[in-house]
């Protein structure tokens, strides 16, 4: 099972919200068995923690280099998240 981690400043607000939306989209795509989700803060995360990372545009330069990164312009635009996730995970 691959792991998707959302990252924000404190690790309890925005990242949690985006994680919920990801779970919803994974269910829609029928991929909830293939991926697990989690959330963290820029300070606590490491590149080893997950296979895919999702971060807001403002924080993309604050996290260590990771292999698979999705950068979101809006954290509540489900269409943007769905589109980027679908492209990324297919």
């Amino acid at each position: 099972m691959k792991r998707i981690m959302t990252v924000c400043g404190t690790g309890l607000g925005s990242s949690f919200l985006v994680e919920m939306n990801i779970q919803k989209i994974l269910r829609e795509l029928g991929k909830e068995q293939e991926f697990e989700t989690c959330h963290s803060s820029v300070y606590e995360m490491s590149a080893m923690d997950a296979d895919y990372f999702i971060v807001a545009n403002d924080l993309k330069d604050s996290i260590p280099p990771v292999e698979h990164l999705i950068v979101l312009e809006s954290l509540i635009d489900e269409d943007e998240l769905r589109e980027k996730l679908t492209t990324f995970l297919s």
Binding site: G9, T10, L12, F16, L75
Partner: protein
């Protein structure tokens, strides 16, 4: 606990955050320290709690003065500038621990992720209407 208030306008965004922290403090959800905690966070990470679509969710770590989990929603009739973005809704969150604020986050996600709900929230004319919308998301 959730509280809500509608303000005509604020001179700067920190005023809206200050107001919501005062309300959270009045209901015993945070100490006076919490506002400072949020402002320090902005200094450190910039406007990271901007969610998009004119909505932001200011919050700081539990150890910066959170007494119990709660939320204060402030809606502005006139948008205010927040680090280059126009904001009309502030969901100021006080999170004691993850399990407790799960429900609140679900409610916020429910309102924000549906364009229709967000539009409806922006059209609310009273804090009661806003609180009723939040209740429906539970």
């Amino acid at each position: 606990m959730i509280c809500a208030e509608i303000l005509e306008e604020v001179s700067e965004y920190t005023q809206a955050i200050r107001k919501s922290c005062e309300i959270l403090e009045r209901y015993g959800m945070v100490t006076g320290e919490y506002y400072r905690g949020i402002i320090d966070n902005i200094g450190e990470y910039g406007g990271y709690f901007y969610l998009g679509e004119g909505v932001c969710m200011p919050h700081a770590k539990p150890e910066t003065g959170v007494l119990s989990t709660g939320l204060c929603i402030i809606k502005l009739n006139t948008p205010v500038d927040f680090e280059g973005k126009k904001v009309r809704i502030f969901f100021t969150l006080a999170a004691r621990d993850e399990a407790a604020h799960f429900v609140l986050m679900k409610q916020i996600a429910g309102i924000c992720s549906e364009k229709q709900s967000l539009k409806k929230m922006l059209e609310c004319r009273s804090s009661e209407e806003m609180l009723m919308m939040m209740e429906k998301e539970q």
